[in-house]
């Protein structure tokens, strides 16, 4: 290879600078929130409910609300998403028009902005079905939002299961469904889990759609028909209305830590999955 001239040395520098800049942006954002938020954090902050609209007290009710909404949306989206993925990869014929449309729909759904999901959830679940601002409305809306992620990652995980696994299972006399249930799905599990973990991340951070469907009530939700305020919505309201910057930092810190854990777990899942093909 010819040796690099002066211009190319400059170009190399530009490439490395770009990589450095991206790293710096990430470090500044996370570093800033971690440093500022850590001083606010205490066991009290996590375990006491907010008082005076969040000016005082902790964030316990918003943590519980977030948990309910995440669990609720997974409860609906995981079965539907994985089942769809199994259908698309194991049952639908190649060139099936139905599968093409479902894939296209999933990709379109993935591109729709969360505020539009919020509008839909509001007019459909909150008003039309009469569920009001509630955990139920929020979880259903959230479920539709994370469905494409779960289906796509499950599809990829099922695709990554080596063909021989299926061959051997069938050769031993197992039926198609037995093969899928006992061989394909367990092998694809790390990939499916990764999709679920990524969806949890999205649900934890979702704000616009939940503000419109789950409301912003600060009380402790006692049933799925109660309204709820998640941590992300709480952060938005604290910061936008200037209620308490200190508590906003604390809330942002908890969210960021959760996202870091979720990201690490997803990364680990991906590695497990890519080890499968070897």
């Amino acid at each position: 290879m010819p040796t690099a001239n002066y211009g190319e040395k400059v170009m190399t520098l530009v490439f490395w600078l770009a990589a450095f800049l991206i790293t710096a942006i990430l470090a500044v954002i996370i570093g800033y929130i971690v440093v500022k938020g850590f001083s606010v954090l205490s066991l009290d902050f996590i375990f006491t409910p907010p008082s005076r609209a969040g000016k005082e007290g902790g964030i316990s009710t918003t943590i519980v609300s977030t948990l309910y909404l995440v669990l609720g949306s997974l409860l609906i989206a995981v079965p539907v998403g994985v089942a769809s993925a199994v259908y698309l990869e194991e049952y639908a014929r190649k060139n099936s028009r139905f599968a093409y449309i479902v894939n296209l729909t999933a990709e379109t759904l993935a591109g729709i902005p969360s505020i539009v999901f919020g509008l839909f959830g509001f007019v459909f679940f909150v008003i039309f079905l009469g569920w009001g601002w509630s955990i139920l409305s929020g979880a259903m809306t959230m479920a539709i939002m994370i469905l494409p992620t779960i289906t796509r990652t499950s599809q990829e995980a099922i695709l990554a299961v080596p063909r021989e696994y299926r061959e051997n299972s069938l050769a031993l006399g197992a039926s198609k469904w037995q093969t899928i249930r006992k061989i394909v799905l367990p092998s694809a599990l790390p990939g499916i889990a990764t999709g679920i973990i990524l969806s949890i991340g999205r649900a934890v951070g979702e704000t616009a759609a939940l503000l419109l469907t789950a409301g912003s009530s600060l009380g402790m939700p006692m049933s799925i028909t109660d309204p709820a305020r998640t941590m992300a919505v709480h952060l938005y309201i604290l910061a936008m209305e200037g209620i308490s910057l200190e508590r906003a930092f604390g809330t942002a810190f908890v969210i960021i830590v959760l996202i870091l854990i979720i990201n690490y777990a997803a990364h680990y899942g991906m590695r497990r999955l890519s080890a499968l093909g070897r």
Partner: protein, 315 residues
């Protein structure tokens, strides 16, 4: 969570023989009682179609009547938004959305593209992997956290160094740019990686340097994927809500500089939805309708053309 339609489809097109039901032949034993399984699974998959139909139906049903009453061009281009006087024109918000999106693309596209080339062609494996996980993390940070960071750091910085209130197009463009970087980097990196190795080998064999090969051969060959990356980044920027509403000031005016505040279409919805009723609420749904139609069209064009492109490439 960005969408990576091309990559996924390319993987499939490359011929996983057992994909899409192809593996199980007609002789695969399907026991009688298992027939219902396929039906249930198919029903699940059709929920996707049901979801998109319901979303379209309900948003249109709330939004279209008001657009019809106001007149489409009047609704979109009129710059007077005054719900108390029943004046619903989203002209200022259209300009606002376009301004912050354009501003974000202006710096995030070059930086993202350079980073993508770096990761695909130049970076040592270790650097590439670490940078990759950083970008994943950037993509995972919730938009409300970006908005909060913008409000606390970027807005005061602009106020102190450039003047104005700091709540501005510029602040929106900075934050949005960071948020669309992962989309742009991931998709264009995959497009660059998908360029056949022979192109590069032949170029090098003809005496071109590595950099000449990158700029003259590899990047042009990955062109369509890079365009997809930019368009998807654009879609994400236009649809983004929480980060923008927290940093752009939300004034319904036509901006005269990058330091002036603007309100985007998405911000308009989230700001007023809490108390709007009647025609006012319908006007917010109409804003959502415009946004929805625009983004769905953008995605459909990208998805369908990407699929067509792959068919051609593998003929």
């Amino acid at each position: 969570m960005a969408n990576y339609p091309i990559v996924q489809n390319k993987e499939k097109a490359r011929g996983n023989v057992f994909s899409a039901g192809g593996f199980y032949g007609r002789k695969t034993p399907v026991r009688g009682k298992e027939l219902w399984v396929e039906k249930v699974l198919m029903l699940s998959a059709s929920l996707f179609i049901l979801a998109i139909l319901l979303i379209t139906l309900f948003i249109f049903a709330k939004g279209i009547p008001l657009i019809a009453k106001t007149g489409l061009t009047d609704f979109i281009f009129n710059t007077e938004w005054n719900p108390t006087k029943n004046k619903f024109g989203i002209g200022t918000m259209l300009v606002g959305s376009l301004a912050v999106t354009l501003g974000a693309l202006l710096w995030a596209v070059p930086l993202g593209l350079i980073t993508a080339i770096f990761m695909a062609e130049i970076a040592p494996v270790k650097v590439r992997d670490v940078l990759g996980s950083f970008i994943e993390l950037l993509a995972g940070i919730p938009s409300v956290v970006y908005g909060f960071f913008g409000l606390i750091v970027v807005v005061p910085f602009i106020r102190d160094n450039l003047g104005g209130s700091g709540m501005s197009i510029l602040a929106g463009a900075v934050i949005l740019g960071i948020m669309i970087l992962p989309t742009i980097i991931n998709i264009s990196r995959d497009a660059i990686r998908a360029v056949p190795e022979e192109y590069k080998i032949n170029s090098l064999a003809l005496g071109a340097t590595h950099y000449q090969s990158i700029w003259r051969i590899i990047v042009p060959a990955a062109r369509s994927g890079i365009i997809t990356a930019v368009v998807l980044g654009m879609g994400r920027a236009i649809g983004e809500t929480m980060a923008v509403v927290m940093v752009t000031g939300n004034a319904t005016i036509i901006p005269d500089s990058i330091l002036s505040p603007v309100r985007t279409m998405t911000s308009n919805i989230v700001l007023e939805m809490g108390y709007a009723a009647g025609d006012h609420q319908a006007a917010l749904f109409a804003t959502g309708t415009v946004l929805f139609v625009f983004i769905v069209l953008l995605n459909l064009i990208i998805n369908i053309s990407a699929k067509a492109g792959i068919k051609n490439a593998h003929r």
